[in-house]
């Protein structure tokens, strides 16, 4: 009986640990350095705005508050040519993997985002 209790307690402990281990593993995969990203973002600000909201010219996307891993993916695609844009290709090809991680972390971290998911914005929802 005592043995069974111990096994059951161990199982519960393992069940608790698994999500914690996953949470720890995830940020280590793609986390950039926000401060380093800020220092590298001067060029980006000309079109995407100092606040990352691209308020001047609507042809450029707002970046503030966008998901970091999506920004990172987009920059890698501009760099590889998988996403075709002559302006962004010119910038992205100069960026290292670390630059991309840092810039993505920085723009994702900016306050005052005007972006939102579509939750609550769909007819009949």
């Amino acid at each position: 009986m005592i043995e069974m209790n111990r096994i059951s307690a161990m199982k519960r402990f393992a069940a608790l640990l698994a999500p914690v281990a996953l949470m720890l593993a995830a940020p280590a995969f793609a986390a950039g350095d926000v401060d380093a990203g800020k220092a590298k973002s001067v060029t980006c600000q000309a079109c995407h705005g100092a606040d990352g909201n691209a308020g001047v010219d609507p042809q450029y996307p707002r970046l503030a508050g966008q998901y970091a891993d999506y920004l990172s993916r987009a920059l890698h695609e501009y760099k590889s040519g998988e996403r075709k844009n002559p302006i962004m290709a010119g910038f992205a090809t100069t960026l290292s993997d670390t630059d991309i991680q840092d810039l993505s972390a920085y723009f994702a971290s900016l306050p005052g985002s005007k972006l939102t998911d579509l939750h609550g914005h769909i007819e009949g929802e």
């Binding site: 042809q59 450029y60 999506y70 993916r73 996403r83 075709k84 972006l115 998911d117």
Partner: protein, 105 residues
């Protein structure tokens, strides 16, 4: 007088163009129904490759137009978005971009 005439002429040319360029937000509200399957869930990931589906509500109008046309023409490679883009007319794209760009967090 001449300057006022010039201004009026310029405006009469510019205004209808701008109006024709924008879509119908009300129509767009219905057309984004499909988009919500992936873009409507906070923090939702693509199945593969594994990154967040981007936030598109509140995004800039002209950028949304360019992005959707990019998927439609194959200048952007995401398979699901390419299929979506190909199913949309120019009017659909304008309506969707008008509605999405009107949203606020």
């Amino acid at each position: 007088m001449t300057r006022a005439l010039l201004l009026a002429t310029a405006l009469s040319i510019a205004l209808p163009c701008a109006a024709a360029d924008k879509g119908d937000a009300e129509a767009g509200k219905f057309k984004v129904y499909t988009c919500a399957g992936c873009h409507g869930i906070v923090g939702w990931h693509n199945a593969y490759p594994n990154y967040h589906v981007p936030k598109i509500g509140g995004q800039n109008y002209e950028y949304l137009i360019a992005a959707l046309n990019g998927y439609k023409k194959g200048e952007r490679s995401h398979p699901t978005m390419r299929a979506q883009g190909e199913s949309l007319s120019d009017q659909d794209i304008r309506d969707i971009a008008t509605y999405l760009s009107s949203l606020a967090p």
